[in-house]
Symmetry: C2
């Protein structure tokens, strides 16, 4: 019966059915392609983000109103009184603050001389005063002082770095390896008394394994990093801002951080070594970065 | 001849051809789907980003090595010498810095009392000392002091805010508009003596209209914002961190900023008003944000 039915189809009829099938196959793929966020923001990427950052935890944001960063509706309000300085005092303070920060440089040559832990604690306390989306405080500061752990971190980073360089160079550079090697050898990862690895918590965990969205977690944690850099400079310590490429997942596992945390930045921290040098860079003058309306 | 050939096909043979066609259709769609960045980071989104941020300018990053933030290879190096404090001095300084910043609160009630422009200039100079990917310094700080411009900004933000609320509420909330209205009425946009709008330059412009990628521009500008917030607090001024939803394009046009600039943040700046209140929030203690290895 089935065979009889099949053989009674004309070739043209079968061709039509197959074209319909092709259309069905195409449209059955469409939801996969259009679903989620690709449709809305097809060209976006965050290339500084490690591959394991691309889970689904950042995705449930856009229907919320999160313009202001405090969840205020249900919060009790209390009076606020700031400290007030005179005109001259404000000008003086703001100038001194700028001058202190303007001496900051990214330093790759870090002495192994020990740094008081209390200072590091205070610097991280300062970073923790940053504002954050809906006051989620979505940051974890991992302070690595153990020499063995530092060395493992160095191995992971240099390994990935070497892969990055090799890929970038291609074959024509193969003979020039030695010259480039200095670029991916990160001695400071061993010598610096502290490595501070800053993780962003892309979501929080609620009871019954539900996820709590951390709005603006990357911006929030970057703001905290800005405050941390200012605090380091204020204390007379140096660092170099790094965002190790492709190392996030391995470093997260090494440091036993949970899956909701993603590496944003790694800062080797210490005193500058005696023979430290820095690139001879200048900063833009005020008129190039400020516009008054 | 063609007809003869066609009619000589058995239905089964045509079915096979059509299945092959379906496979071809599927695979011909694959490159479109896999091309670009969606394949690598299929689930990413940056929902805090305005729609006009989704142009193609952020896309050409991943093949570069940008782990460290300085372009050092071709840079002349110069000796670096930091200032050195005693152990006790460092502990004292770091503690005072933390305590100063720990008094910072997000304040929505801002007095119209004038603030010296010189202080604002120094604060923006301080923000401009932030590190940035490949030293691109990809920030523009637009300081709005003109009352008319401030009011236009307020109109744009409240309009978009209202749309956001309406969408979120749906019909069942339609009668409760009044209660919610306070949430999107932003009086501080008129009263604050300054609005600082921070734009990230997602790319730079080279001769012949070529684009220069600004690596890590969002992280860099967020770090600068962190330093700016610290500088404001140091000077005795208050603000509230806001990222106006969906307003970026209109505000960019209003302030005549070029297309490579995207709004990241808006900070109303001034003294707190006499009756200012803040939500009764606490910060996480050190042990909840720091892990020592």
């Amino acid at each position: 019966m089935t065979v009889a039915l099949f053989s009674s189809f004309t070739p043209a009829f079968i061709a039509i059915i197959c074209i319909l099938l092709a259309v069905i196959v195409r449209s059955s793929r469409a939801p996969e392609k259009k679903g989620g966020f690709e449709q809305r923001r097809p060209q976006e990427s965050r290339p500084w983000v490690d591959e394991d950052l691309t889970d689904s935890t950042d995705l449930h944001l856009q229907d919320e109103d999160t313009e202001e960063w405090q969840e205020e509706e249900d919060q009790l309000h209390v009076p606020f009184s700031g400290e007030r300085s005179s005109h001259d005092e404000m000008v003086r303070k703001s100038k001194e603050f700028y001058e202190m920060l303007n001496k900051r440089r990214s330093v790759r040559f870090i002495s192994s001389e020990p740094v008081p832990r209390e200072v590091i604690d205070n610097i991280i306390r300062a970073a923790g005063t940053a504002p954050s989306g809906a006051h989620t405080e979505p940051w974890t500061f991992v302070v690595v002082q153990d020499p063995e752990a530092k060395h493992k971190i160095r191995e992971i980073i240099e390994e990935e770095e070497e892969i990055n360089y090799m890929k970038r160079m291609g074959e024509k550079w193969v003979n020039d390896l030695k010259r480039l090697r200095t670029n991916w050898v990160k001695e400071y990862l061993d010598t610096a008394p502290y490595l501070i690895l800053i993780f962003k918590q892309v979501y929080g965990l609620l009871p019954q394994n539900k996820k709590k969205t951390h709005y603006y977690n990357e911006i929030s944690v970057s703001i905290a990093c800005g405050i941390l850099l200012a605090a380091l400079q204020n204390a007379g310590l140096v660092t170099v801002t790094t965002t190790p490429l492709n190392c996030g997942p391995r470093l997260r596992v090494l440091l036993q951080r949970p899956v909701n945390e993603k590496l944003l930045m790694l800062l080797p921290v210490g005193y500058p070594s005696k023979d430290a040098t820095v690139p001879d860079l200048k900063r833009k003058p005020l008129e190039d970065i400020m516009v008054v309306v």
